[in-house]
Subunit: 94 residues, 2 copies
């Protein structure tokens, strides 16, 4: 099982709309990529103001999902809730 | 629900024993803190070579667990699998 974590670092001038993220952006990503659920984090303490964790059956499934039609709209939607450039972490869940 | 993520950044000279981490250290932390399970990540791509995610019912429960007797042994055990100083992220799961 593969975890894709998208991490949003805090920083001066960083803006992040948690409600839009939860109610619009993550559901859009799930629909686009054919996933059932994801886990959304709202940062309390630490370097990240927010994060989301998606799971994929395999690295191949992740690549296939993310090249789905509509992925460009998912990327374009990022500007609607944040000015932060996210960090991607891909891991195997062991 | 609170997530405590412990993130191990990659870097020059960084050492990390994934087997020891999975088979010894994380089980020790779970026993010490009275938790049933955690999710362990082995980094494939991104800034972290490894991570673990613990869940607690509340911030108070997390604080209580981590001040449990034995937490000092958990910290002391870190030197047995890595020379990386981990980053802690505490988040609310929304």
């Amino acid at each position: 099982m593969i975890r894709l974590s998208v991490l949003y670092p805090t920083g001066e001038g960083a803006v992040f709309d948690h409600d839009y993220y939860r109610n619009h952006h993550v559901p859009l990503a799930l629909r686009t990529w054919g996933l059932e659920s994801a886990e959304i984090d709202k940062g309390i303490d630490g370097p990240y103001v927010a994060a989301v964790h998606f799971r994929f059956e395999s690295a191949e499934a992740m690549t296939a999902s993310m090249s789905a039609e509509g992925s460009r709209q998912v990327s374009a939607d990022v500007a609607n809730y944040t000015n932060i450039v996210p960090i991607l972490q891909i891991s195997e869940i062991v």
